[in-house]
Symmetry: C2
Subunit: 437 residues, 2 copies
């Protein structure tokens, strides 16, 4: 299964919402991602919106004005729910119909032009969690990240023997996933420095971000039922940006033998906008190109379609701004830029592997890729790699030095897709600022 | 904080429900655990029940007949909900009031005796999940289990240096937690035997159970807010039996470096009855007695109250019955008997550690102890330990040999508390039978 490139991707489409026609917007009419929002200061029920330029198309308002009445009733109910869970669970044909409908509603030539009251100014919105997340699973799908981190912990044996066979993952904590712009409290935990004979309980001194892509389960599977690799993308609704905050000193001491726990579970930030797989159709690319000596994936993870189109060409960036930079009015500073194309495992392989033991995935479950790091210098998706565990600190424009994150630092993740012949689309931002109290 | 021993624990209390007065019942009037059930074959809304002998006190029926009208309205709403989540979130004084009320309602001298229609025969009930579980965390709190398993994987280094400081845990999978009596499908996964050069995808040949105690979060905590050790038990609603099914061959190949994933996530079975901490008050005992060379827990995990009363004296048993045993009408066969008293970490220490980084726990979240194994032969809580990873198979009464579980095997966990001067109480059973198709 691959999602079709159709009229909704036509790069010449323009919207009557003028800000959507700016060449550098993340949200042209070809994108149409979903989020859940409410107006600042209001206590009204959260509602689903679709990004269009600098505006949000308010689906509840559209419904109230009869602008969704041509859609099946089930879809109308899903569009006016207080979160995306119902919408995530609908079948592909209905999803495609909705995309078509929204595209037509927003096209420049639409007559009569819909009333402006279906729009809400994005800068005046508060974004909430897009959906209720039942379970959160975090993969480890960048071989460059796995190798870089492995070198720091096991210089003689950086990449473990299972890596090229198993899409490695761990269960994450769902309760502490928060939407973009939620302040992140520096966690405390057990820390044992090499020079210490016993651990102490203290605030982490090695607070890090991890740049990841998240993907939400669409239609789920029943317990005991696995998912064929060529059907896997039918179970994926869309993608977001994920910052899997990590306390490296807590992690180093706690993670043996059962994996990361409190080093990660204090917070995970996701971007508000969920970009659908439909929207990403023009940006599909081959899966990671394995080296000649690398094993082929086992049959349950192999498919010609996935091999030729399983990748997604998403450029991913991390920016930072310190408290001092903000005081001085300086712009955020680029920490890294990489591509999601370089992931060793595709979304379909991760999802198929997850369900291969019969584990049931539910609509709205979040799977994440693990840190996206590339082969090139400047494409490493966390400070652990960039500063080599603090041994090579970086210097910000203010002259401030960073081994890891300081209080007041804000981390901004950005993602976008560009390919010749198609309109650029973006993911918006995923933001989080560190505080301590 | 410790829960009071009060009139509801009086061993001379008897009930007008005669089966509750049998000396060997798991559910005397001193217990009063909660479950969610519906009648076999019905599609009615699930309802909350309280075990009493061989009957279930149907709380919705009680409400309809005005038998809960003396309780605060919030409590009445919680008692008539379709699951235990609301009840789990109520504050301690209300919980104690409810226990008192239920005890009085069921006492032999109650005048007028309540109508029999508030009872439902336990053997005719289908038990459902007691509550919606947001997140599931599995600890590793038996030092005997950790040492036994460590010996198998790392003979030279069985117990890792962090064990005596950190209550080790990993995030488990919430979606695949199932109630007792759900059939368990043998999972497939990647398996690499020592003699093989590459892994294969195949049904597990090392399917195991793990005997554990689960505990449900009562009142939760806010993100960023930790929980003092002496307040920890105020955040625990009650306990159940947990079978954390494990595929040892899948686990051995996948678990480095991020911990167990698909080896566990195919299914976890919990017992229907949730025994409250109130009910367990007479069975509290000192925490694990550390050896003289062992470190004291760090201050955030230390408390004189927890040290003197943090343990719970629960006897735990595992029984097995094979398809052949069932055909021959043989009784289940005892695999192990151990005590929850021998756990290295207390419930309070596990919960306090979990929230120590500010991770928010929500009402109904499930925490489990990890495999309960004791020091003595015959007290090991999984086949991995009992058969020494299959090298010392066991023989069933039929002459069948087991290294790990076979299709058709049913595993039955039982738990009960006995202490001089108090009525014995039990946890009922946690059952699961293996099938393959």
């Amino acid at each position: 299964m691959s999602y079709p490139i159709d009229a909704t991707h036509n790069p010449s489409l323009r919207s009557w919402v003028e800000s959507a026609n700016q060449p550098d917007t993340d949200f042209p009419i070809q994108n149409l991602p979903f989020a859940v929002f409410r107006r600042q200061g209001s206590a009204e029920t959260p509602r689903i919106g679709v990004a269009i330029g600098e505006e949000i198309l308010d689906l509840t308002r559209c419904y109230q004005l009869g602008l969704l009445s041509q859609l099946p009733e089930k879809l109308q109910i899903a569009c006016t729910a207080p979160n995306l869970n119902l919408l995530m669970g609908i079948e592909i044909p209905a999803r495609l119909a909705l995309r078509q409908h929204l595209s037509q509603l927003l096209q420049a030539n639409r007559q009569p032009q819909p009333p402006a009251e279906i729009l809400f100014t994005m800068s005046e919105a508060i974004f909430l969690m897009p959906n209720f997340i039942g379970d959160y699973t975090d993969f480890y799908a960048s071989i460059f990240h796995a190798t870089n981190v492995g070198k720091l912990f096991r210089p003689d044996n950086p990449l473990l023997p299972n890596y090229k066979y198993v899409p490695i993952a761990y269960h994450g904590r769902a309760s502490s996933i928060v939407p973009s712009d939620t302040a992140i409290k520096r966690p405390s935990g057990q820390i044992k420095l090499p020079a210490d004979s016993v651990p102490k309980f203290a605030p982490t001194q090695m607070l890090d971000y991890e740049l990841e892509i998240g993907f939400f389960v669409g239609v789920g599977n029943q317990p005991g039922e696995s998912i064929y690799i060529d059907k896997a993308e039918e179970h994926i609704f869309g993608l977001c940006l994920v910052n899997d905050w990590s306390a490296r000193d807590i992690q180093a001491w706690e993670y043996q033998p059962l994996g990361p726990f409190l080093a990660k579970s204090f917070a995970t930030t996701i971007s508000p906008w969920v970009v659908t797989l439909e929207a990403l159709a023009p940006f599909r690319c081959p899966a990671f190109s394995r080296a000649s000596g690398d094993p082929q994936p086992l049959p349950y993870l192999s498919s010609p379609v996935d091999e030729s189109l399983g990748g997604i060409n998403i450029t991913l960036e991390v920016w930072i701004t310190s408290a001092q930079m903000q005081q001085q009015g300086l712009e955020p500073w680029l920490l890294s830029r990489g591509s999601f194309q370089q992931m060793y495992w595709t979304l379909a392989q991760m999802l198929t592997h997850h369900a291969s033991n019969g584990c049931n995935l539910r609509s709205g479950d979040l799977l994440a890729s693990g840190t996206v790091s590339g082969a090139e210098v400047g494409s490493q998706g966390c400070l652990l790699e960039i500063t080599q565990r603090g041994s090579q600190p970086i210097t910000l424009p203010t002259g401030e030095v960073r081994k890891f994150l300081a209080d007041g630092d804000e981390v901004i993740l950005r993602g976008y897709c560009e390919t010749p012949g198609y309109q650029r689309i973006g993911f918006g931002e995923c933001r989080g600022k560190i505080f301590n109290c």
